[in-house]
Symmetry: C2
Amino acid sequence: MDVYISGIGMTKFGKSKDPLEMMMAEAAGLALKDAGLERVDGIYIGVMNVEEFVGDSNFAALLADTLDLTGIPSTRVETASSTGAGAFETAFYAVASGHMKHVLVLAGEKMTHLPTPQTTRILSEAIDRSERRYGATLPALAAMVAQKYAQAYGLSLRKLEDILAQVAIKNHLNGVQNPHAQFRKHITKKDYLKSRMVSYPLRLYDCAPITDGAAAIILTSQPARIKVSGIGHATDTSAVSHRTSLTSFQATKEAAYKAYTMAKVDPSEIQFAEVHDAFTLFEIIGTEDLGFFAPGEGWKALEAGVTHLKGKLPINPSGGLKSRGHPVGASGLAQLVEIAWQLRGEAGAGRQLDRADMGLGQSIGGLGNNNFVTLLERTDRKRVVKEGWRPADHPKIKPPRKAPPLLPEEGVGIVETFTILYSTPEGFLSPLALSFVKTKGGDRVMACNPDYRSPKELKLGQWVTFRKREGLYVFEKPTLWKRFHDRIKDLLHLSM
Amino acid sequence: MDVYISGIGMTKFGKSKDPLEMMMAEAAGLALKDAGLERVDGIYIGVMNVEEFVGDSNFAALLADTLDLTGIPSTRVETASSTGAGAFETAFYAVASGHMKHVLVLAGEKMTHLPTPQTTRILSEAIDRSERRYGATLPALAAMVAQKYAQAYGLSLRKLEDILAQVAIKNHLNGVQNPHAQFRKHITKKDYLKSRMVSYPLRLYDCAPITDGAAAIILTSQPARIKVSGIGHATDTSAVSHRTSLTSFQATKEAAYKAYTMAKVDPSEIQFAEVHDAFTLFEIIGTEDLGFFAPGEGWKALEAGVTHLKGKLPINPSGGLKSRGHPVGASGLAQLVEIAWQLRGEAGAGRQLDRADMGLGQSIGGLGNNNFVTLLERTDRKRVVKEGWRPADHPKIKPPRKAPPLLPEEGVGIVETFTILYSTPEGFLSPLALSFVKTKGGDRVMACNPDYRSPKELKLGQWVTFRKREGLYVFEKPTLWKRFHDRIKDLLHLSM
């Protein structure tokens, strides 16, 4: 059974004084009104971590009550930072099954009321334990991806910095036109360079902000102006260090393949996209993983203006997570609300795209291991599937690099990538150097060292030693054995 | 599209040293092997609160990885203590939609490693904030339901005690035959009476235990030995005090109505059921809400042996939550595993029922506000829908008693029901008297008082005064004004 969108709504994103359930009720009320409905057959609630952010559980029932829809089935869905997209997919199947006619998908998060180190700790629970216990945060892992990306495609760090700044500047520029966005201000390269380093080479302006907000969509089996044409969903290894590639996300490729196949479209037919820019580089990687541009070339399209609002393939016309804000449970659904606004021609002067018959939303859960691709299209412009259309080749899944059962207690290797993490989670000293060390046997070892306080002390490809101490690997440049021994006890005391 | 069960598996329930994901992998491995599958098209993970019980989020992705099923879509579903049933329903729609052929439903929880007051606090987050801030726990609210039930149906407290003991004794007797049960021991009325009071009148033996465990089911669109005939799901008010009835659960009635209607069966056609006996009385109320027995008469069927293993309508042949154990996220799915075993004739000597063509699972989320009813039946015994079959009348939904916008700051009323809570959550003094006070205007006010240390000091229907102090109502027998004033500050200090 085909599934359509008959109602959309969202709150302004930013810092809110309202309790989470009231923000969600506001978004739901707008969507229900938009659909002309007072009741639905089911409710799917997307919240990433209400337990720790607001101290409630049993949130699906609370929302049914808050909406005065007591009695109606209500289910909470969660896939980390792609939760909004996950709730949408789940609701899609409920409608597609024919068992429900109208369904409310409602996603939100409230985050701004907590101190940042606590928020960082809560968000870091999405990271595999084998990496989290080193103090790794999502920005730290994203920073390691960024350094690796620059090296893989021969970009100097200055060039990388320039590209990342361009993503932030473009998305802020788009966000100025979005009344629902958290930040509605132009930023310049100078502003970008002034923003503090969160985890080298990523600055504050490379990271989506901490945000309160909610979004809602009504799905229905009755034909409406917008159809859900394709949905793809895929996972990847829990630990980033277990992946074959550090410069692309297999889960996005796989999800895109499924969505394109379901909708029978090629990436070239997509007219605009909302891409999960939790970190600026992820927008670039996203446009490559989605098949818009070749690997390593997404930044060229950005530089050429292709992904700008007036370009051939606008990316994040809403301002993206960077400028609209990133209430983690809501973002995946807010992307789809933006696409629906664009498809309906309701995005408003300044932001409305000329060509908006088919849009794509891409949402990332965790550090790229629970990802979604969703395709929405207008139903009043009949799309003809190209004759002889067949899906592109299935994205090759190389067997993931599994952690070998026994890594050596110590050894030598090279720094595959690293970061200096300045914004550490609760309980970890700042700054903290984190590295993926590649061993002679080809294994990847996560290792840390709080002695390196500047990225200038390290470089990719350099030889280091690593040693396990009470379950944690510590890496070091070989000339520093003595200092290493002096510091190791302090370090382990802090990190365990 | 019809949906079938092709594989089932579960761990032994109890106290486990394994990490949660390994327990869940064990259950999943058994179910996959049972179905003869190595891969599935999707995974639905049911965990109630991994964030606080084990400190992880992004659990759906972690499980896909742990199962070596990286790449496959994996989604976490949660509906409080009915989470296992919620994951099953969600997966059911995915298969029924035709978008997935084989789906793994996998539910679990790990709880025994934490101190009980911490576990109590975590579980209490499922209670509406308006009641939780008084120190109300799930046992406390269940105890208030129990006192009200006894009064409503003219049972003395001694009689109530006897009935509740019979539920516990029956379910322990069944559990002896279940190799997966946490407790495999007979208990006597004497044992029951010796068990400590948790929240008057409920004793430890009235409450399901704290448990580690996992269960798994494979759903498929390919015809198999067991079919999912009916699914019903409904919510109720977040706060118990906002309900019209305290002696039945509207969400169970509504869910049962939907499940029966979908399957086209009458309650009288159900041959056995797994009923959510998180508290002994809930089994009795469940059998009434499901339409097996008239309101207030469920206990008579128990006394007459009807619900015993050898009775006409065995309830909880597995031993129920009471004896099998209650890993909160897993129980709703473990019920369905038991029903599938019974339908296949694989429950084993001593526990296998003679008549097992159709079974029912009933699962309660929170204190009765996110409930499920699921019907499973054998496909090799052709059931004929009775000629002229039509669903029973829709269970009347009286508009829920909404909290009025402004309750008086103080007043007089009668004790509608109360409990003395001995096992208080972290941060609350023990014992603590909690009461629903009915005002002259007919409103229901939750109120507390830590001065009443014995249930003998209070009785249902007695007049009390209540006063609001810093957002909390305190109730008191009218003669104690002085003492009240002396204690109020201490109390408020402790409870805020």
